[in-house]
């Protein structure tokens, strides 16, 4: 399936996996981040249960230097 992650399309071999699976696939485990799926925040406590579907738009953000 295809997901739009941070504005860029990305293809995955499997379909119907969880946000937790995506985080691990992207090697982002243990990083402090926040995720939005189709404009809705996915709380960290729901990463394991939240299933992703083809075409979902995800924003994965972190804290960076800024004023």
């Amino acid at each position: 399936m295809q997901l739009i992650i941070n504005g860029k399309p990305r293809d995955f071999d499997s379909a119907g996996f969880s946000v937790a699976h995506l985080v691990s696939t992207l090697a982002l485990e243990g990083k402090r981040l926040a995720i939005e799926c189709n404009g809705e925040i996915v709380p960290r406590s729901q990463f394991a249960e939240k299933q992703l579907m083809d075409g979902d738009k995800l924003e994965i953000v972190g804290a960076v230097g800024g004023g």
Binding site: I35, V61, G67
Partner: protein, 260 residues
């Protein structure tokens, strides 16, 4: 003497709040922030780089959220909706953290704030339970309205973001301070230590700065200078300055006992 800065029911020893952007690297960021003595540090919320940098250190490794009070900002947002969305992500990112810096810009060239969008965002955020420190123009009416909405601090600009032009309208700042029942902090425009001291002498509760330190020739040394300037300005404000007069017939040395 106990003179603490109180924001949203939490107290701080340092009245200098600093940004974490524009430094050479994270080590310099950390060294400058240590020299500044700041307890509250601003961060921006941005898309994470996917894939290419799994083991790369992050800002949070150098500035652990357990050591500092993070103040996530909405830099780069030009609408109330974008600002609210950004801070909701920040709250999730920082485990329910409520203290935030709201800024909604109106013009990419000057970075002047858009106060109509700022006020709209402030209403939503306050209702949503955020403690909102708000960057704003130095308009006393806008500052008062933001207070009435329920913001926990107003942060008028001294001059434009990144300009280093110093305190351009001390009169407006004085009116804002005199009318406020919440802390007033100068945010943006400070260029060097004397600017920080002047802002504090006017009665500001604190100062937020980034570029003045990060873009200095020696950022760590400037951070130290800013720490002292903020402390000096605060003490001068509390002490109360002598009245200004064109000249004085009262010399500091005794008039009696002269040998002539």
């Amino acid at each position: 003497m106990s003179d603490l800065l109180k924001i949203a029911d939490k107290t701080y020893h340092s009245r200098l709040l600093v940004g974490t952007g524009k430094y050479q690297d994270f080590a310099q960021t950390r060294a400058a922030i240590d020299a500044s003595g700041a307890e509250i540090i601003t961060v921006a919320i941005r898309r994470t780089n996917i894939g290419q940098n799994a083991g790369e250190p992050s800002l949070l490794d150098y500035l652990p959220p357990e050591e500092f009070t993070y103040l996530p900002n909405t830099a780069g947002c030009y609408s109330a909706d974008d600002a609210v969305r950004t801070l909701r992500l920040a709250r999730e990112l920082l485990d329910g953290h409520k203290l935030v810096k709201l800024e909604v810009l109106g013009d990419p060239k000057t970075l002047y704030p858009n106060m109509i969008e700022t006020i709209a965002a402030a209403k939503v955020l306050v209702k949503d339970g955020f403690d909102v420190m708000v960057y704003c123009s130095d308009d006393p009416i806008m500052a008062k309205q933001l207070e009435e909405i329920g913001c926990c601090a107003v942060m008028p600009l001294a001059s434009l973001i990144g300009s280093g032009m110093g305190i351009l309208n001390p009169w407006n700042l004085q009116i804002i301070i005199a009318n406020a029942n919440i802390p007033v902090l100068v945010d943006a425009g400070v260029g060097t230590a004397s600017d920080a001291a002047i802002a504090m002498e006017l009665g500001c509760q604190g100062i937020l700065m980034n570029t003045a330190i990060a873009a200095a020739g020696n950022p760590v040394l400037m951070a130290s200078a800013m720490k002292k300037a903020v402390e000096a300005g605060r003490e001068a404000y509390l002490a109360g300055r002598m009245p200004k007069k064109l000249y004085s017939a009262s010399p500091s040395s005794p008039s009696a006992g002269l040998i002539v």
